[in-house]
């Protein structure tokens, strides 16, 4: 081939530009705040391969075709890039290496073809725009280098081809390297590989790798000048890095209940807006689905500009139910909920702009320690006839029953009573905090009022610390989440020897130990709705199902169940901020239920019960598992 020097030069130039781009990009991320947890560079980088093949791949694997595609295209590319540098840049002459490179390129080419096929009729969740040229770029890169490598492998004699071929190949290589090397750090679709790999290394929630779960929100340092995130640079640097890893696959969008309900939220767009913010510019090039009801193109932002003034409408942030469906689904392990709550924190704590009932609810929490402003002394009214042991009197019990704010609500009280009935039937030694219990702070925290949350948490911990118990059990998954995953940040020693359990887990244990005698259930078809704060937040999918099985119920599963359960619409303070949409999330969930033909929806959460019962009749009955069990309880006659 003529111009022997040309291709090495091009490769060197592309790589050099890529390095410059990388430095620039990294500096954009580093404009963010230091991470809570610092990870050394080398140690971080070394974790990437394992995390790619395990943690990330496990998520991608949910779409088998895409998993194979990614292994072929991505694996082929990484291998090819290394060998291209060796073979073509450094000119090491080795047939084996050349053949290796050919094989890698062939793999990449096949991957490219698969990408092309997927992109022929792409689902609406996938972004178009520059992403549509990616298969062609992959094919150009692989194809051109393949031909270029043939002489080195001895398949073609050196110097084959003339002007024309050289020009064509050179053009393709420039295009291919432009996308794959230059684009990686200068903002093309391939940026995901660069940012994604680093995100694996420096992820803010390291606990998530290796099958762990990390769902508790990080506490706000209340001593800071500005509370919450007002501008992109207020995010932790690794959050910014995370945003850049987004591949715009739209899996989050497809799972988001608020998006489906036509509320102005699309988690994918939100992440892309964060990218716009961190790099500066507008969303004009965004080629995916918009926030429902909002146009694309007019959002503007920059690293130090207030996000909610031009980049993201606060309504978008207030639409989120914090259900974590997006996070669960994201192959790049991006943390949408953290970002949303971070920005809510600014709106609530700095601006006092919590919409609709939000401000009132937060005022109530401050005045009465519960979101609905009930007289604190009325917290145990529901139990006046239950003869419950109160910690203040007994000081010690095996189980602390955390009643939660369902105590104030007549519907929820039925769940509480059922649970108490079961506890008594199983002779559990339990006590409640009575009027000493305060709201867990869940709503305050999700609405961004971390100051109120922290104060409640600290006071609850202080109260609990006076007593001795081995376990905390609650029927409220939201309180469960706070106690189990969030209180430890303030808890000192309290949680070292105390286990926090959801009532379904605990009841299941009692049933397995034969402490509850239950009749078989003879009603009609039953389905089970996984509450987000029990399932995705805490990984408890099995105990409720096992309990239902113990009644002889074969659960008619909804398509969206388990980790893919659709939110009832009741989390994250969403019913309070009450952002209008086209449909109600609870109605959609009830449609899911109806497809199973169920006459009864079993749930494990008072909030889900309230939301689903809010759907107009006729609809299936809604009952907490504790209620279903209590109905089937065979009471011993004394």
């Amino acid at each position: 081939m003529i111009f022997e020097w040309l291709h090495p030069l091009l490769i060197a130039a592309a790589l050099a530009l890529a390095v410059i781009g990388a430095v620039r990009r990294i500096s954009l991320w580093r404009a963010g705040q230091p991470a809570e947890q610092s990870i050394s560079l080398i140690a971080g980088l070394l974790t990437i391969p394992k995390r790619y093949f395990h943690d990330l791949h496990d998520i991608v694997e949910r779409d088998k075709y895409m998993a194979k595609t990614h292994v072929a295209a991505g694996g082929g590319f990484v291998l090819s890039a290394v060998l291209i540098i060796v073979v073509h840049l450094f000119g090491i002459e080795s047939k084996i290496l050349a053949w290796g490179l050919l094989a890698a390129l062939a793999l990449m080419f096949v991957g490219g073809l698969m990408v092309a096929k997927r992109r022929q009729n792409p689902p609406s969740r996938i972004s178009k725009g520059p992403w549509m040229r990616l298969p062609k770029s992959l094919l150009s890169f692989a194809g051109a280098f393949f031909v270029l490598t043939l002489p080195a492998a001895g398949v073609l004699p050196e110097g084959t081809g003339g002007w024309i071929l050289t020009i064509v190949l050179t053009a393709l290589i420039i295009w291919g390297m432009g996308e794959m090397f230059f684009g990686m750090t200068w903002g093309g679709p391939m940026k995901h590989a660069f940012a994604g790999a680093l995100h694996l290394a420096f992820h803010r929630r390291q606990e998530r790798f290796g099958g762990g779960r990390s769902t508790g929100l990080k506490p706000v340092d209340l001593g800071q000048d500005i509370l919450g995130v007002s501008k992109p640079t207020d995010f932790k640097w690794n959050q910014l890095l995370g945003f850049d890893a987004c591949v715009q696959c739209g899996r989050c969008e497809a799972m988001c209940p608020a998006f489906a309900a036509g509320q102005p939220l699309n988690p994918k767009k939100l992440i892309q807006d964060m990218v716009v913010g961190l790099a500066g510019g507008t969303d004009a090039n965004y080629a995916g689905s918009p926030y429902p009801g909002k146009d694309v193109g007019s959002a503007k932002g920059g690293p130090t500009q207030i996000i909610t003034e031009g980049l993201v409408d606060p309504e978008t942030l207030w639409s989120c139910t914090t259900c974590r469906a997006c996070v669960e689904e994201c192959p790049m392990m991006i943390e949408h909920v953290d970002a949303i709550v971070d920005m809510r924190r600014f709106l609530t704590m700095e601006k006092g702009n919590t919409p609709n009932k939000g401000a009132e609810v937060l005022d109530n929490i401050i005045a009465t320690d519960n979101p609905n402003g009930y007289a604190p002394a009325s917290r145990t009214n529901w139990a006046a006839d239950q003869n419950l042991a109160v910690m203040k009197d007994v000081k010690e019990a095996d189980v602390l029953f955390w009643v939660s704010d369902g105590a104030f609500d007549m519907r929820s009280q039925r769940i509480l009573r059922s649970f108490v009935k079961l506890l008594k039937a199983a002779n559990v030694d339990f006590a409640v905090l009575g009027d000493e219990e305060l709201d867990s702070g869940d709503v305050a925290r999700r609405l961004g009022d971390d100051a109120a949350f922290q104060s409640l948490a600290k006071r609850n911990i202080e109260i609990m610390s006076q007593y001795k118990f081995k376990r905390i059990v609650t029927t409220d998954p939201h309180a469960y989440h706070c106690l189990r995953n969030e209180y430890a940040d303030f808890g000192g020693d309290l949680f070292k020897n105390v286990e926090v359990l959801h009532h379904t887990t605990f009841l299941n244990e009692l049933v397995q130990q034969g402490k509850l005698k239950l009749d078989t259930f003879s009603g009609g078809t039953v389905t089970y709705h996984d509450p987000c704060y029990l399932g995705r937040y805490n990984g408890e999918y099995e105990a409720p199902r096992e309990l239902l099985r113990s009644l002889g119920i074969e659960v008619a599963e909804m398509e969206r169940s388990g980790f893919r359960s659709r939110c009832c619409g009741g989390g994250g303070g969403a019913p309070i901020t009450d952002i209008p949409g086209e449909r109600r999330i609870a109605d959609m969930r009830m449609e899911d239920v109806n497809t199973t033909g169920a006459e009864l929806v079993a749930v494990g959460c008072q909030q889900c019960t309230a939301m689903l019962e809010g759907v107009v009749e006729p609809r299936p009955e809604v009952k907490d598992i504790a209620e279903i069990l209590a109905d089937q309880l065979i009471e011993e006659v004394h």
Binding site: A261, G570, A574, D578, R584, A610
Partner: protein, 701 residues
């Protein structure tokens, strides 16, 4: 655009009712009480047996905060219990029975106390132990026709001791407290009231002396049970007798007892009770406004510092809430409200206020009680029959879903349709008229009787909720029933006025008018009318009241011993008030022999049953109330083709067991529908009878 529903806890409008409150050290879970009423269920010599226990357990299960059971339960053997099967606390035999009762109520978080008393002169001597009745001054009590002796000092002290022993038995039986009855003219308030206490010894005369008996009872009881056991006192707010205790007297008495610090709560009832007319006030029927005597209870609350309970015509949760919220009293008695629907509280909590079966004040319950019959609710046949297995909450069937056709939309038909629909069957209800309710609709036309329509209103709302196919204005014939091809057909076609019993009355010639036609408005009442009433219950009195209210000059004639004699003790007085005021002439012991026309007028020939003496009345309208004959034509037309030949198995029916035909497969008993008839289309009985049959037949459908 829809707005995301706020599923978050909304403040319940009834929260004030659910604020627990202590009586002494006892926490009552809500502000609703079932106050003391004589249930007439304590069989076996006054023991609280199965029926009794299940009756109270149902209230506790339904959420009632406090049940005060055993109205007028006796502490002494010379206060007879058998007339009203009241609870007998004069023997230790009661203690284990109380334990069962207490357990059953406590199990559901309720609290239970008992009213204890010595009835003094307010009883009957001609039975059981044939005692001499006793009262402070031996003055006769008219309602029970009770003559009595003057109680002697030794007897006074014995009765005081009996009170203490009775309280001990209640405590040992695990009950949560006792209520001393000083109301309705029992021994304690007989001593209080100068109207009947004419003594000149230390037990009468001055205020302190009249108070002495009650104070000694209280002292003895408190000494026996200790400071923590609840002891309450039920008093009247005003005896409503010029020579009796008025509201100021009662405030003075309440303050006096309150000052001992030994009374844990006061129950307050408006009105005295020792004449027929005052008795009607005590359990106000549907002619009274809501809470007519609340002001008296509120007056007592002003002078005491312990909780006050008041019951009297509080039927509706909103009303109860308003009363508690305004702080008139601390606890609201909803006693008949619980007889009509023991799940009242649960329904408030379940946000099913519309599904509460509200008491209509028909006073069937109390009027039975005064006759010594077991207390039953006119519209809820399950009440007090829980022990037999009659349910308040009807479960869906696990068996086949049937097509049920009910013909007739009176109370029997409506109840049959309701129960069948609750069981999950496909129910069609066919009614000839344009309105549901049957004879209840007529009954509701009379002055002050409109609330009886509440029975219909609830049933219809339930049918709508349950999705029953209701076809109004449709007369069912055999063809229509066959076309609908039901699995079960229930006929509740009622009857028609039986005015042609005596051809001499001239029904054929159109000389007489049926009471129904007056009440329905089909025939205008004449100017000067004679109503002949052989039934002597509500229908004749209501017709007279209705016509008189429209300006007619009315003579109400009966061959029975007095007009309205079949109506119970709390209801005939309100009719009498109305009829006397409108100058209705009431004539008894005369039979209607013949009616003939003379010119523009009618002549009614009456004959005295005892002398045979004849009298004539010249009037312009003769209205006859002679009961009804069943509409049984459709039944006989369908009977032969039905599987069970229309028969109901009485053994199963009375035992509250499923009808055998339901358990047989079609092949065993032939095909064709199951056919039952109930209510007045069989024979004339009453609303309760029709609804009871409907419930016990259909609950196993």
């Amino acid at each position: 655009m829809l707005v995301q529903k706020t599923g978050f806890k909304t403040m319940s409008q009834f929260d004030v009712l659910f604020e627990p409150l202590n009586i002494n050290k006892l926490t009552i879970r809500n502000r609703i009480v079932s106050t003391a009423h004589a249930e007439v269920y304590a069989t076996d010599g006054g023991m609280t047996t199965d029926r009794y226990v299940k009756y109270y357990e149902e209230k506790a299960k339904g959420g009632c905060g406090l049940c005060i059971c055993g109205g007028s339960s006796v502490v002494s053997i010379d206060s007879p219990q058998s007339w009203w099967s009241s609870v007998n606390l004069s023997t230790d035999r009661i203690i284990p029975h109380f334990q069962n009762l207490a357990d059953a109520v406590h199990k559901h978080g309720g609290k239970i106390m008992i009213q204890i008393t010595h009835m003094g002169r307010r009883s009957r001597w001609d039975g059981e132990n044939w005692p001499n009745l006793m009262s402070p001054s031996g003055i006769r009590e008219p309602v029970h026709r009770a003559t009595c002796k003057t109680i002697e000092e030794e007897e006074i002290w014995r009765v005081i001791g009996d009170f203490a022993q009775a309280a001990r038995r209640a405590k040992e039986g695990g009950l949560d407290g006792v209520e001393l009855s000083a109301v309705h003219q029992h021994m304690i308030d007989q001593f209080w009231s100068p109207r009947v206490n004419k003594r000149t010894d230390k037990w009468g005369g001055s205020f302190e002396n009249r108070m002495r008996f009650g104070m000694e009872v209280l002292k003895a009881v408190r000494e026996e049970v200790g400071p923590d056991f609840v002891v309450g006192l039920r008093i009247t707010g005003d005896e409503f007798h010029p020579d009796g205790l008025n509201h100021d007297d009662m405030k003075e008495i309440a303050a006096y007892y309150n000052a001992t610090g030994q009374i844990d709560y006061f129950g307050v009832v408006g009105s005295g009770c020792d004449t027929h007319n005052t008795l009607a006030n005590v359990i106000p029927n549907m002619s009274y406004p809501p809470e007519p005597f609340l002001h008296l209870a509120a007056g007592i609350k002003e002078v005491v510092d312990v909780p006050v309970i008041h019951a009297q015509n509080i039927k509706d949760p909103n009303q109860a809430k308003r009363i508690v919220e305004a702080g008139y009293v601390d606890f609201v008695g909803m006693t008949r409200a619980h007889i009509a629907d023991p799940h009242l509280i649960a329904k408030i909590k379940m946000d099913q206020v519309d599904q509460i079966r509200q008491c209509v004040g028909a006073n069937y319950c109390i009027d039975r009680q005064y006759m010594g019959l077991d207390v039953l609710c006119i519209q809820n046949a399950a009440t007090s029959r829980e022990y037999m297995g009659l349910p308040h909450i009807i479960e869906k069937t696990a068996g086949p879903v049937r097509k049920v056709v009910v013909v007739g939309g009176g109370p029997g038909g409506l109840e049959a349709a309701r129960v069948a629909a609750e069981r999950g069957h496909n129910v069609t209800l066919i009614e000839k008229g344009e309105e549901l309710g049957g004879q209840l609709t007529l009954a509701a036309k009379a002055p002050q009787r409109d609330q009886i329509a509440g029975i219909t209103r609830w049933l219809v709302m339930e049918l709508e909720r349950l999705g029953v196919d209701i076809r109004l204005g449709t007369a069912a014939d055999a063809g229509l029933v066959r076309e609908l091809n039901p699995d079960v057909c229930v006929l509740a076609t009622g009857g028609r006025p039986f005015i042609d019993q005596n051809p001499e009355w001239g029904a054929e010639e159109g000389l007489i008018t049926a009471s129904w036609d007056i009440l329905s408005g089909k025939v205008e009442p004449g100017k000067n009318i004679l109503i002949y009433d052989t039934i002597c219950e509500f229908s004749g009195m209501s017709t007279a009241d209705y016509a008189a209210a429209k300006g007619s000059l009315v003579e109400l004639v009966t061959d029975d011993i007095k007009p309205g004699v079949g109506i119970g003790g709390t209801t005939f007085p309100t009719y009498y008030r109305s009829l006397y005021e409108k100058e209705v002439i009431m004539t008894s012991d005369f039979m209607l022999e013949k009616v003939y026309r003379e010119g523009d007028s009618l002549v009614a020939v009456l004959e005295n049953e005892y002398t045979g003496q004849r009298e004539e009345r010249v009037v312009d309208q003769v209205v006859v109330e002679n009961g009804i004959r069943p509409n049984e034509e459709l039944y006989y037309e369908l009977k032969e083709e039905s599987r069970n030949k229309g028969q109901i198995d009485n053994d199963a029916l009375f035992d509250i067991k499923p009808q055998p035909v339901l358990l047989e497969s079609a092949s065993e008993s032939g095909d064709g529908m199951i056919l039952w008839r109930l209510g007045d289309c069989v024979s004339q009985r009453n609303v309760h009878a029709a609804m009871y049959d409907a419930l016990r037949l259909c609950k196993d459908l």
